[in-house]
Symmetry: C3
Subunit: 260 residues, 3 copies
């Protein structure tokens, strides 16, 4: 997978696909910087009035529901409508689904109404979308990823979307396909937005690799390896964030790919 990943990274840097993000206020700086590090071209959209113009230029639309509110939801629905109409693929990050009924309901409403290409969340969030109730503590996941594989497969079939479950082992599922990726760093959950940014990075890969399972798998693998590279140079969450953004701008070397 090393060569495929680097070939995709090169294509992203060359074509600079426009990734339109409707995303939360907490992590948008990190998401924008991560996409720029990768070589993609991010735009953060906030106004109904410009959705149609932006979507005509968009390679992929990212919907991240980290900071909700009636205006934002209405914006998301309009963007999804336009994206589906123009066949711009949508990648959804159901931040905090399960943490409040409100968040769960909004997310369910989106996946039932619109055609979504890829959904990426942690185990708690994916379980909530699969309508399997369990207690979530805030926006962190409190359950094992393995317990979510079967519900995620059902969710994938119901929604015709690929599902990425982030955790110690990342799992990528698409209908009957599934793969577990055991990469990454324990420092990743210690900075805010690593989930949000992975969602956006998957979107950037999807801009160049139309097979959504491949795109999700290679992006998740690349992301985990970047985490490992960054951890080696870091003495805490602050320096990890800096080094992680540096790593996202590079290609993967064989040593980093194999060392694990």
């Amino acid at each position: 997978m090393l060569n495929e990943t680097n070939a995709l990274l090169k294509s992203i840097k060359t074509t600079r696909p426009l990734i339109v993000n409707l995303t939360n206020y907490v992590t948008m700086d990190f998401v924008a910087n991560g996409l720029l590090s990768l070589g993609a071209s991010p735009v953060m959209c906030h106004a109904r009035e410009e959705i149609e113009d932006l979507m005509k230029l968009a390679a992929v639309l990212v919907i991240n529901l980290g900071t909700l509110g009636p205006d934002f939801i209405s914006l998301c629905k309009k963007a999804c409508t336009v994206a589906n109409h123009l066949n711009v693929p949508i990648v959804l990050d159901p931040v905090g689904a399960g943490a409040s009924q409100y968040r769960t309901d909004i997310n369910l409403s989106l996946i039932e109404t619109f055609k979504i290409a890829i959904i990426r969340g942690n185990a708690s969030e994916i379980m909530a979308l699969a309508k399997i109730s369990e207690t979530t503590k805030g926006v962190d996941s409190s359950i094992e990823n393995t317990a979510v594989i079967n519900p995620a497969k059902i969710l994938s079939k119901q929604t015709n979307a690929a599902i990425v479950i982030s955790g110690k082992t990342d799992i990528v599922i698409d209908d009957h396909l599934s793969i577990g990726l055991d990469r990454g760093s324990a420092l990743m959950p210690s900075i805010t937005g690593t989930g949000c940014l992975l969602t956006a990075i998957i979107a950037a890969f999807l801009a160049l690799e139309k097979n959504r399972f491949e795109a999700a798998k290679l992006a998740t693998l690349f992301y985990g390896i970047c985490g490992e590279i960054a951890q080696k140079k870091s003495s805490g969450p602050g320096s990890f964030k800096t080094n992680f953004l540096d790593a996202l701008s590079t290609f993967i070397e064989r040593g980093d790919y194999e060392r694990h």
Copy 2:
């Protein structure tokens, strides 16, 4: 105080208390990352609809009035109502009180209506809440901390809240108790959000240490020492921010505690 601080830090990392933040858009990334560095579990709340669900899980509620507006104020009032009802302690950051009459009025309205556990601000902000008029320049403090001790003691009695006054010497006051802490780094005011994050860190300490004076004192001490540790490794505000987030993830060593 070294052993108490490290014991509290350990408890925070083990129990990962959920700190619900209604906070400003400028510094929320820094606040979220600081709480994660510490080992606490932050959530940034923006929707009325999820306040009740989140508050049931919350250890502490942080209200930070850095970016105001009618919707945000209404959200704060709802959150404070629910928090008081559920006995979730509230920590208030009256950002920019005194800088505009609007900000002063909103803050006064909150402390007169709700039970607040701890208020943390700079001298100008605390003076404004104590209704002692003086000119504030923006969100920075322009007066000496010592002049604010007596007004702060009166404010503490009036509101039955502990008061933390940030500045060159940090002062923690609760009714008849008071302590001055002469720690920290001159680089702290050169990055945005060091005040906001201290407020949130105090909240995380309060989640585990129910004595609010102790919680505020140990959090403020820890924060100042982290500033000193970070400064030693930094060549400017950019690297200071990185190193400060690293320091927040560690325990305090005797050498760092005593060196001063």
Copy 3:
């Protein structure tokens, strides 16, 4: 220009001019930290109710249209009205003008209604304001800076504003005056907000240097040199951002000024 730049930097650190920013949510943390690194005093304004109080204290008003919406536009218009009334100079960043008709129209409406001192954008944005149509991809510029010189001169005359065009060569124009500055780092476009922050840094220089062409020229020069200093120490976009904020806090040494 070395001595003039350092003299201005010293004045900024001494007087700490208050820069009031109506700016986008994506980069406001970076803009605030950049202004603090420089020694200026930033405040991010979001409420109609405090515009008059803040503007009385403001040295310069920065309007950045990165994240639009009806409330924000209304806020901008009120702030510009008060600023013009109080003779507080306005620096405008027309983020994404040309990327959507909506953004172009809002920006045109502002420059036609209010007295603006300096407009800073990339070539695409300036071309859009000069009403020369060309295709913009998102918020990045897709045209050469040289093609924009004549339209920018006309725009400068029409609006009686100085124009700064950011790009590989930065160009500063004011009526019949123009200068090209060939400084900076290729890493600058790889972090989000380098344009927004330059706009704010120009505002801080304008607070102390009333000649707007001089202020824009020296700020742009300083900014580019900081990029070069940061690049030498960086291994990617993450560390570049950190080192760039460090560089903004320093004075320019002769070696850094001449090395080019």
